[in-house]
Structures are given as structure tokens and as C-alpha cells.
């Protein structure tokens, strides 16, 4: 059995990296990520973690050095937030296109200007075309579990892609919750040694990234798309194994709550799903047939899994904590295009963007929005396709 400890979300990330026995960590401070690397530095200097920390001079170099370490065969890890993630964006692509397993935690935060350190998903969702597996946690236990699982998923030969794990700054990052930590030996046995497709360590002369002709280039990227498909299976397998070994199974790419007989679905991702679930529980008591689909992985996007749940529903409302300016919330647009593949007769779909810049959305807000959505449809009207829900 593991042990229960009180950890902030950031410390849960740090401990997951420790349990994965990372070899090299390269990181740069940024609010609200900083306490992850502070904790890891402490674990290294106290001798609890046998790893090398590279205290780089920028986020661009943080991911560059993480990439370098991973290419040379190290289990490598980094973490960042917001502007830092944007600054390293070039290497976000570089790492996945090189098919290098690595793990990065994103403690999400709004983008500037204006300067704002509160959480939303703008930084995280900005990376969704980059070829990373993208998972997002709801509470600190899941932060730990998902970060640890990320190493397993990333190094699976069917995947060989880097994984980023999102958690909201402050809401999870700096909030203390009880987290069950596993036994190290069980983790070691399950995770195994570092695996990768190739390693550049001087043993054999290999060159990574030489110029390639258009056809070769495209074929390489088609492999990434295939790996993303494989990842759907791998994520579910890892979730199952992890559930058996450590007693916590989340459901794979999505988690469904109150879904069995639901006629309406609310879709969300991240910590505010907790408030959404609470709101739905309350509405259930009031007789509303509604369930929650919590997206745990938005890359690969769980089209099939969500379709299975919503195919007989009357309405789906998607809550986005980021906005693609000039379009709608990214989870909504992804879901809408995906579901269109399955049917010409979509349920009524509606998108609410909220909580941008860290505006606090409570379960009362969710209850209000959900009630209005359901009642509009029940009356035979159509709710707006897009709402930017704002309050002060």
C-alpha cells in the first residue's frame, strides 16, 4: 500500500517525476510553475532523487536541454507556464517531430498583456497542433497519477511522442490536497527502464533531423498521426494497468459522471470540472437528466469515446476555458467537427467560454448555465451556439 500525504498540485508533479526516476530536469522559473522545480531541486540536493538539474537561462533552453537529454537516452522532464510555454513553442514542435519521449507539466496561466497570473487554458490549448499527447488533470491525486502515467505513455513504442500534463495554476498548483503516493518498487516494475526508438549517445553514428524531401517529410508526419491513434489505445491500457496496481482508474481519455441515462451532456476539462460535477449532481437531484464528460486527454482528441456517450442525447454544452479569437472555444470546435463524422443529425451543440484570465466560475454559475441550456431546448428553442459568459 502507498501512503497518504498532503501535497500541492505542483508538489504532486514533482513527486511523480521523482517516482519516475527522471535522469535530467531542465527548467526555468515562472509563476505559477516555480514550486515544481524548487521541490525537485530540493529532492536532488537532499539526495532523495538521483537526477541532474540544468538551471537554464530561458524556457526555450529548458525544453531544448530536455530534448537534448532525452535524445541522449535520459528520462527527461521539464515544467512551465504561460509565456514560458509560448517562448519554448519552437521546441514543443521540435521534440514531437523528432519522436522523442519526454514529459512536461504545464501549470496553466493566462497570457499577457495585461500581466495576469491567474489560471485559464490559453497557454495549454495554444499547443494543440504540436504533436504532443495532451492530458489535463482535475485534482492533485490525478495530477500525480497522470504525470506518472505520462512517462509510460510517452515511452510506449506504439506512441514515442512527448506528453504534456496540464493543471491549473493556484487552483491545483498551490492548493494542498491529500495524495496517495505508491510504493517505489511497484512503480519501478511497472514503468521499467527508459525506452526509445533511437538514442544518440555516440555508440553508432546517427544524424537526427537532416533535410528531407517533401514526400519523406510528409510520411514522417503521417506516422505522428498514426501514433496519435495508437495513443488512444495505449492511454486506456495504461489507465487499466494503473487502476489494477494502484487502485485508481479514471476511464481513459474521458471520464463520465452521471452519464448512464443522460439526455444532456456537459463537456469540460480541468479543475473546474469539479464544480461542474457538483452542479450536475444538484441538477440530477432536481430531476434534470444530465451527465458530465470530463476530457482527460484533448490530444489525441477522444471523438469516438464522446460520440459513444452522446449519440442519443438531445444537447451537448461544451465549457471552454480558452478562446480561439475569431472562432469559438477550441474543445468545442474540435468536438463539433469530430462528431459531424458520425452523424448528419447532431444533438444541439452549444459552447460557453468562461473563466478567462482566472475569472472564478462556481458551481452556481454552472447550474445556472446548464438549467438555461436544458430549458431552452425543452421549450423547443435553440440555445446560442456560442456564449462568452462573463460576470464580475
Amino acid at each position: 500500500m502507498g501512503k497518504l500525504v498532503a501535497l500541492t498540485g505542483n508538489y504532486a508533479v514533482a513527486y511523480a517525476a521523482k517516482y519516475a526516476r527522471v535522469d535530467v530536469i531542465a527548467a526555468y522559473p515562472i509563476t505559477p510553475q516555480t514550486s515544481i522545480v524548487e521541490k525537485l531541486a530540493e529532492l536532488i540536493e537532499s539526495g532523495e532523487l538521483d537526477a541532474i538539474m540544468i538551471r537554464v537561462e530561458s524556457e526555450h533552453s529548458a525544453l531544448a536541454a530536455t530534448f537534448g537529454a532525452a535524445v541522449a537516452g535520459a528520462r527527461a522532464f521539464t515544467a512551465t507556464s504561460s509565456q514560458g510555454l509560448l517562448y519554448m513553442h519552437e521546441f514543443v514542435h521540435w521534440t514531437s517531430r523528432a519522436r522523442i519521449p519526454a514529459v512536461m507539466a504545464i501549470v496553466t496561466r493566462a497570457l499577457a498583456p495585461p500581466w495576469n497570473i491567474w489560471p485559464d487554458h490559453s497557454d495549454f490549448m495554444d499547443q494543440r497542433d504540436a504533436g504532443w499527447i495532451m492530458g489535463f488533470a482535475m485534482d492533485n491525486q490525478e495530477v500525480f497519477d497522470l504525470t506518472l502515467q505520462a512517462f509510460k505513455i510517452s515511452e510506449d513504442p506504439r506512441v514515442y511522442l512527448p506528453v504534456m500534463i496540464g493543471l491549473e495554476g493556484f487552483i491545483l498548483g498551490h492548493t494542498t490536497m491529500l495524495v496517495e503516493l505508491p510504493e517505489q518498487e511497484v512503480v519501478d516494475q511497472w514503468l521499467g527502464p527508459r525506452k526509445q526508438e533511437y538514442v544518440i549517445d555516440g555508440k553508432e553514428p546517427l544524424a537526427l533531423g537532416n533535410l528531407a524531401w517533401p514526400e519523406d517529410t510528409e510520411e514522417m508526419f503521417m506516422e505522428i498521426q498514426k501514433a496519435m491513434d495508437n495513443a488512444k489505445k495505449v492511454i486506456k491500457e495504461v489507465d487499466e494497468e494503473y487502476g489494477k496496481l494502484f487502485g485508481r482508474k479514471y476511464g481513459g481519455l474521458i471520464q463520465c459522471i452521471n452519464c448512464e441515462d443522460a439526455k444532456y451532456f456537459a463537456v469540460s476539462m480541468g479543475a473546474w470540472s469539479g464544480d461542474l460535477i457538483e452542479a450536475v449532481n444538484k441538477l440530477r437531484e432536481e430531476g434534470y437528466p444530465i451527465g458530465v464528460i470530463r476530457i482527460r486527454f484533448c490530444r489525441p482528441f477522444p471523438y469516438e469515446d464522446i460520440w459513444e456517450k452522446v449519440k442519443n442525447s438531445k444537447g451537448v454544452i461544451v465549457f471552454d476555458r480558452s478562446i480561439s479569437f475569431g472562432a469559438w472555444g477550441p474543445l468545442f470546435t474540435d468536438l463539433l467537427t469530430g462528431l459531424y463524422h458520425y452523424t448528419n443529425n447532431l444533438p444541439i451543440m452549444s459552447n460557453v467560454v468562461a473563466g478567462i484570465g482566472g475569472v472564478n466560475i462556481t458551481y452556481n454559475d454552472f447550474a445556472k448555465l446548464l438549467t438555461s441550456f436544458i430549458e431552452t431546448i425543452e421549450k423547443g428553442d435553440k440555445p446560442p451556439v456560442f456564449t462568452w459568459y462573463h460576470k464580475r
Partner: protein, 306 residues
């Protein structure tokens, strides 16, 4: 330390025998390109046991297209600003894994070093990772078609200084690296392979961050006949414009080929270097005087730190 006159009629082992295996014929370099010349010297020192970390630059093209590579050594191509950072990561991973017989070398042009890569270079130097950072300096953005960099010399034509020529002097990156307090800094030239060889041998024995700045005349960008790559490299030294030295133990150590030119009377006139290159075709007397002044100041600085 061996420094030598490359005009010597006797071969000086281990060059050229150790240069034969790693740099493979038929690469994509322009005729007369200095890059593979320098790689041959690297290979004489490290053989296959080197990992070159190469950001965007001519070298990313020279090694050729997938699935082939013109070097029988390891290469990691990386984003423009990141050579030093990726090399840091590789070096630390090798250390963690207990691999000690492989040299990590960041191999970047002047743009990737003096301009866009300066921050990551400075960071890696300050952290003193056990790598060799080599800036091969062809004094402009050659791969994109001869645009001005901060390492382009005063008065030189480039496609972004097309009429007046560059109005600022060259950024002295070796000096900047000396200011970082790293254990080893050297300047070198592709025209002096034995000198470069000796410097790499010394760098190989030193733990920590090593910086070597290689002067690399580019026939296409400097507008000269490709057969003159070595001649122009030598003229840069013989006119005193490019000074070969090493910095370690807190001091500058002037290298053999540059030693005579501490005496200004022994230097060839700068015009001999300039006149072979189309990029200085329109240079004026005033500008040549300005270059002479700059060269003299550089020598004074060298002398003060010897």
C-alpha cells in the same frame, strides 16, 4: 603544444591520416567550403566519437538529405537559437548515464552564435557544461543568402548592407566568452589545421566549457574564387586582422601562426586581404583606415592580456 607552418613539406602525423574516415566525399557543400575542412580536423581528434549539435546554418545543408548523412559521426540538428542548450542536455544525459568517451560539440555559425544563439551560449558557458562550442565564422548569414550578422566585418557588402557596406565593427564573441570565465577560449582558422588540431586536443583534456572561434572564409558570400579559401584564411592572419590565440589560466597565449604579427611591421597590408574579396570591392580609403585602427586596438587588447 605543437604549432606548425602548414607550408612545411613534411606531413605531420596524425594529420592527415586520422582525417580520412569521418568526412565522407560527396556532401552538399559549395566548392571550396571551409566547413568540411574544419570537420576533417575535428575528426582527426575525436573520430566517430563526437556528437555535433547543429542549429540552422550552412552545415545543416552540407551534411545532405535524409536518409543519408555526410559524416560518420553523430549529428543532432536543432532550432536556430538552441545549439548550446541542446548540447548541455546531451552532455548531462551522457554524464548521468556514465558515458565518458564521447565529445559533445555545439557547431554553429556566426548568426547562430553571435546573434540568435547568444543567450543560450551565455547560459551554457556560465553553467560550465562539459562541451566544446565551436563558432565557425563565415561572417554573415550565408545559408539564407549572405545577410549581415553582428559578426560581419566593418565595410563588408552583404545583401542587407548592399550599397554602403556594414557600418559597425564585428562583434568579438571570443572576448565575450573570456568574460564568462570559462576554462578555455581559442580562436582558430580553417587555414591552419595543425593549429586547430592542437587546440582541439587541449580542449579535449579540459573539463568544462570550451569555446573555439574558427575563421571560415566563404567563397560564395565573400565573393572570391573557391580555390582561395585557404589563402584568404592565411591572409587574415598575416595581415594581423584575425589573431590566433588561446585563453586559459587567466591569460592570452598567442598561437604560433600569429606570433610574428605582434610586430606591426611584419604584417602584410590589409588591402592584400581585402582586394581578393568582392565583398570589399567598394571599400574606401577612409574605411580601410578605420579597419587598420580597429586591428591595432585589438592587438593592444591582446598584448595587455598576455
Amino acid at each position: 603544444m605543437t604549432t606548425s607552418n602548414p607550408q612545411s613539406p613534411k606531413p605531420r602525423p596524425p594529420l592527415p591520416y586520422n582525417m580520412r574516415e569521418v568526412v565522407l566525399p560527396g556532401d552538399a557543400a559549395c566548392p571550396g567550403c571551409p566547413i568540411p575542412m574544419a570537420w576533417k580536423v575535428l575528426s582527426a581528434v575525436f573520430g566517430e566519437k563526437m556528437i555535433l549539435v547543429i542549429p540552422a546554418c550552412c552545415s545543416s545543408v552540407v551534411v545532405g538529405a535524409y536518409p543519408g548523412n555526410s559524416l560518420k559521426a553523430s549529428v543532432v540538428h536543432v532550432a536556430f537559437a538552441s545549439a548550446a542548450a541542446v548540447a548541455s542536455g546531451i552532455a548531462e544525459a551522457l554524464r548521468k548515464r556514465g558515458i565518458t568517451d564521447v565529445q559533445v560539440i555545439a557547431w554553429a555559425g556566426d548568426g547562430g552564435t553571435a546573434d540568435i544563439g547568444m543567450a543560450s551560449l551565455s547560459g551554457a558557458a556560465e553553467r560550465n557544461h562539459d562541451i566544446i562550442y565551436i563558432m565557425y565564422d563565415n561572417e554573415a548569414y550565408m545559408n539564407t543568402g549572405i545577410q549581415r550578422s553582428s559578426s560581419t566585418p566593418y565595410g563588408a557588402w552583404t545583401t542587407t548592407t548592399p550599397i554602403i557596406g556594414k557600418t559597425e565593427h564585428k562583434k568579438d564573441v571570443a572576448k565575450i566568452m573570456i568574460a564568462h570565465g570559462v576554462p578555455y577560449v581559442a580562436t582558430a582558422s580553417v587555414a591552419y589545421p595543425h593549429d586547430l588540431y592542437a587546440k582541439l586536443q587541449r580542449a579535449k583534456k579540459i573539463r568544462g566549457f570550451k569555446f573555439i572561434h574558427i575563421h571560415a572564409p566563404c567563397p560564395v558570400g565573400w565573393r572570391f574564387d573557391p580555390k582561395y579559401t585557404v589563402r584568404i584564411g592565411k591572409l587574415a592572419v598575416e595581415t594581423g586582422l584575425w589573431i590566433l590565440y588561446e585563453y586559459y589560466d587567466g591569460k592570452i597565449h598567442l598561437s604560433g601562426p600569429s606570433r610574428p604579427y605582434i610586430d606591426p611591421k611584419k604584417r602584410k597590408p590589409i588591402i592584400e586581404y581585402l582586394k581578393l574579396q568582392g565583398r570589399f570591392k567598394k571599400i574606401t580609403e577612409d574605411k580601410i583606415k578605420e579597419i587598420e585602427k580597429y586591428v591595432e586596438q585589438h592587438w593592444e587588447w591582446i598584448k595587455r592580456h598576455m
